[in-house]
Symmetry: C2
Subunit: 198 residues, 2 copies
C-alpha cells in the first residue's frame, strides 16, 4: 500500500511502548497530513534530543545536559539522596514532585541469574558521593522485587558506618511491582511512609 | 525534572493520536535507553520520510514517491476507481486489501459550514481522470456523514453522462461514522455490498 519507507517508519513507531501497528499507522498518517505543525516540530525535537543526549556524570540520569537538570538545580535538597535502579524509576518518582532531593541511578539491580555483580552497577560512585559528605539521608528506592530488595540490602551494608540515615520506600508497593508502572498515589504513599532500613 | 529539550519532545509525541502525556514520556524514556536499537532507527526513518514526502500528482495520496506506490503498481485494476475524502480513508480502505483498484483523494468534503466549495477539492482532477477513459466503475467512498453524502451526490451529478458505473459503499456504516475509525470487518462488508449510486 504505502512505500517501503513509510512502512519502515510505521514499524519503528509500532515498537514504542504503548503503540501498536494500528496506532503507529494512525500516528504516521497524522504526521504526514500535518507536515508543518506536527511532523517538522517532532523531527526537530527528536534531532535535538538525539544530538545532545548525555548520561549525567554525577547521578547517572539521562538528559541533554551534564550535570543533568536535577543535579544542576540549586533548589533541590542536596542532603537527601534517592537511589533508584533505572532512569525510568527516577523519572517516575520525580514526576510526582514528592521528593525534593537528588538522585543516584544504579543502572540495574544485582542479579545472580543475569550475572549482574556489584561492579556492574554504579555502586562505587554512590559510596563515593556519600563518603564526600553533605548527605543526611539515603532513600533506597529499589523495586519491590527479590532482586531489588537484595540490592537494597547490599547497599545498606556498603553504606554502613557513614553518618547517613538509610531509609527505604514503605512496604505497600505491590509485590513484584516495578516503580515506573505505579500510579502517583501509590508512589506518594510509599514515599511518605518511608522507614529506616531494617 | 528533565531538560526543556526532553520535555519539548514529550509534548510533541503526546500530540500524536493514541498517545497521551504518560505514554509519550514512556516512549521517550524507551528511546533514550535504547539509543542504538530504537532512537537511531526511528530518527532515520522519520528523516527519510520527511525528506521524501510528496503528494501523488495522480491520486492525491501522500507517499515518498510520485506517482505513489498504488498508482505505480501495474497489478492494480485501473478500471476501478475509489474516491475518498482523505488520505487516511485511502489507507484505511487499502489496509483491508479488499479493493483491487486505484484511488482518488478529494482532500476533504463539501461543507457549507466550513466554507468548503467544489473548487477547494480535487474534483476537476477526478472528472478529468474519468473523462480520459479506461475507467469502468467509480466507487464513491465518502464518510457516512451528512457532508460526506452531500459530496457523493455532488460528484454523482458531475460524473453524469460519462460511461462509468457509479457505486457507493453499502449502508450499514454506522451513522456519523468515519471510515478510518472502522474495523476491517465493517469496511469489508460495506465494500462487498456496494451498490449503484441512487
Ligand atoms: Zn544528574
Ligand atoms: Zn497515486
Amino acid at each position: 500500500m504505502a512505500s517501503t519507507e513509510i512502512e519502515a517508519l510505521v514499524q519503528q513507531l509500532a515498537r514504542l511502548p504503548g503503540l501498536g501497528p494500528r496506532s503507529a499507522r494512525r500516528a504516521v498518517l497524522h504526521l504526514m497530513k500535518k507536515r508543518e505543525s506536527s511532523f517538522a516540530p517532532l523531527l526537530a525535537a527528536l534531532q535535538t534530543v538525539s544530538e545532545r543526549l548525555v548520561t549525567c556524570g554525577i547521578c547517572g540520569n539521562i538528559d541533554t545536559q551534564d550535570p543533568c537538570a536535577i543535579c544542576a538545580d540549586p533548589r533541590r535538597d542536596a542532603r537527601s539522596l534517592c537511589v533508584v535502579e533505572e532512569v525510568s524509576d527516577l523519572w517516575a518518582l520525580d514526576k510526582s514532585r514528592l521528593f525534593p532531593g537528588k538522585y543516584h541511578v544504579l543502572g540495574g539491580r544485582l542479579s545472580a541469574l543475569e550475572g549482574v555483580r556489584p561492579q556492574d552497577l554504579s555502586i562505587d560512585a554512590l559510596v563515593a558521593r556519600v563518603a564526600a559528605g553533605g548527605i543526611d539521608e539515603v532513600v533506597l528506592a529499589m523495586n519491590a522485587t527479590l532482586e531489588g530488595q537484595t540490592t537494597a540490602h547490599y547497599l545498606a551494608e556498603r553504606l554502613e558506618g557513614y553518618p547517613v540515615r538509610l531509609t527505604q520506600l514503605a512496604h505497600g508497593l505491590p509485590v513484584g511491582g516495578e516503580l515506573d508502572y505505579l500510579d502517583e498515589g501509590t508512589l506518594a504513599q510509599a514515599l511518605r511512609a518511608r522507614r529506616p532500613m531494617g
